[in-house]
């Protein structure tokens, strides 16, 4: 009789495990070489710790009670636990702090999507370095780590998690409309975004900006096409691009001004990692300057996380051509 395992989890057997281990080792060597020390944190956290990091991630995953009846959750990402570690275990440490991790995180998945409930992430967090220098290091380290690990065609999509929200505020779009517009944008339902924009009583120029901005994607030239109320975020991206060019990874950058990451804690530039050989993203990251402060030590920070199994799939897809 076949004993099942929960959907969205898997057993890994030696042939695959050997490749996953080699991939992790290669990424680990890159991170360690760049001065990132590896940390472990518990797979389970108090629910209010995860909630403190991001209200939206807390309720969605796996919850359990311990013997004292306290509510625990399986961590839904590694960034929140690391923010907790930084604020509690590194209270007086000198900055910057460079940490990396190789760990499983857990999330509830919508059925029928083939998503994993348990996934292995390889990530870096750079704490105490403001933008754009911090982003440049966290982005280029991920890109170089992937090159070292044998990927050739990977790219990074760069946007700003705060850009559209501040644009809506700037154009004085009524509060009750903002969440709906942001919701449509995060689903990239551009049809709904356009329909909702048409109903707003704002100038035609503002309306055009709201629908055009999320479609601006491409090389550095797209920054020239975004102007007006978003110039501050655009200038931030331009500075970041220059630093990435100095680090020799600018040719992997695609700007995407409609980029919105699922997690709510990002405060500035955000990014996603892609490979043309596969139709899903390999990882992502961004700047989260408010989060560590919520745990008691106010520090700017940013980081990148890669899904090791997805990187493995992309590597094999690249080899097949």
């Amino acid at each position: 009789m076949i004993q099942p395992i929960p959907p969205g989890t898997r057993d890994v057997l030696p042939d695959e495990m050997r490749e996953l281990r080699a991939l992790s080792s290669s990424l680990h060597a890159s991170f360690e070489k760049a001065g990132y020390g590896e940390v472990w944190t518990p797979a389970m956290e108090y629910e209010d710790v995860m909630r403190r990091g991001d209200e939206r991630t807390a309720g969605s995953g796996f919850r359990l009670f311990d013997d004292a009846g306290r509510l625990l959750v399986l961590r839904s990402d590694m960034t929140i636990p690391i923010a907790r570690v930084v604020a509690t275990r590194f209270q007086d440490a000198e900055m910057p702090l460079r940490l990396c991790y190789f760990a499983h995180s857990y999330r509830a998945v919508k059925s029928g999507t083939g998503q994993s409930r348990e996934f292995l992430q390889a990530g870096v967090e750079l704490i105490g370095v403001p933008g754009p220098e911090g982003e440049a290091e966290a982005v280029s380290l991920a890109l170089e780590g992937l090159s070292e690990a044998g990927l050739a065609r990977h790219r990074i999509g760069l946007g700003d998690g705060d850009l559209y929200r501040s644009l809506l505020a700037n154009l004085e779009v009524p509060d009750e409309e903002r969440e709906d517009l942001l919701g449509a944008l995060s689903r990239r339902d551009l049809v709904e975004l356009e329909a909702r924009t048409e109903r707003l009583s704002i100038s035609p120029e503002s309306r055009a900006l709201l629908t055009r901005l999320p479609t601006l994607r491409g090389g550095i030239e797209v920054l020239g096409r975004a102007n007006g109320p978003v110039s501050q975020a655009v200038e931030r991206l331009r500075e970041l691009y220059e630093l990435l060019a100095e680090r020799g990874v600018a040719d992997r950058v695609i700007f995407d001004l409609g980029l919105v990451r699922e997690l709510g804690y990002y405060t500035g530039p955000v990014w996603e990692v892609y490979d043309p050989a596969v139709g899903f993203m390999l990882g992502g990251g961004g700047r989260y300057d408010d989060m560590i402060g919520r745990f008691g030590r106010d520090l700017p920070a940013c980081g990148t996380a890669l899904d090791v199994e997805r990187v493995h799939i992309a590597k094999m897809a690249e080899e097949k051509g």
């Binding site: 999507t113 995407d256 899903f280």
Partner: protein, 208 residues
């Protein structure tokens, strides 16, 4: 031409309109039209599939972009695809329909506290009744949903109708309009970035 993009085209009610649209872009779809068995046409970058499978192909990147009905997208909101454009054609309406002449649905609601509804779109149906504060038993069927109320299987149906002809032929009438559905252009999230120029060009020409 679609500059190297692979496009998913549904085999079904939206197929003729989709192919006309591709013709208007300068693609030669005559082989697709003349060949019912063949599903993949690499020369013109077209793959064809059952309509409800379109978003799946696009989500996984087997096609960069696709044409699909809004009804399919509403029924499978977990598909991670971008919705780029309302193509306008293939207009039809998702409705609640019931037998003409009496009010079985009303009576069930009043006396039993809930209504039994057959549909090929369980998600849309469940959502519609929940959002209007009524309890509904949703009976999922794969075909000929119209016979449900006639055989006593259910009190009413939720289905897509373009002309209303099938409903009339089966002695049914529209009781509630849920949502208007048209054909949409969808894109794979990664292709939307990595093939931005080609996709923008396609969207630009389709808007005209």
């Amino acid at each position: 031409m679609t500059s190297g993009l692979t496009i998913a085209v549904p085999r079904g009610a939206l197929m003729p309109g989709s192919l006309d649209l591709l013709d208007s872009l300068g693609l030669d779809t005559s082989e697709v039209r003349s060949n019912e068995r063949k599903l993949v046409f690499p020369d013109i970058g077209v793959v064809t599939m059952r309509p409800s499978d379109g978003p799946t192909y696009v989500e996984h990147g087997a096609a960069d972009v696709g044409i699909t009905g809004k009804d399919v997208l509403l029924e499978a909101p977990e598909r991670g695809v971008y919705e780029l454009l309302d193509l306008g054609f293939g207009r039809c309406e998702m409705v609640v329909a019931a037998r003409k002449g009496d009010d079985v649905m009303g009576e069930s609601l009043r006396r039993l506290g809930r209504v039994r509804v057959a549909t090929k779109y369980p998600r849309i149906a469940r959502e519609h009744f929940a959002s209007t504060g009524r309890e509904a038993d949703i009976v999922e069927v794969k075909g000929s949903v119209e016979i449900g109320p006639l055989t006593g299987l259910v009190d009413g149906i939720v289905d897509l109708t373009a002309t209303g002809k099938t409903l009339i032929e089966n002695d049914l009438e529209v009781r509630e309009e849920i949502v208007v559905c048209t054909a949409r252009l969808i894109a794979n999230p990664v292709a939307h970035k990595l093939k931005a120029a080609a996709i923008d060009d396609l969207v630009g020409r389709l808007r005209k």
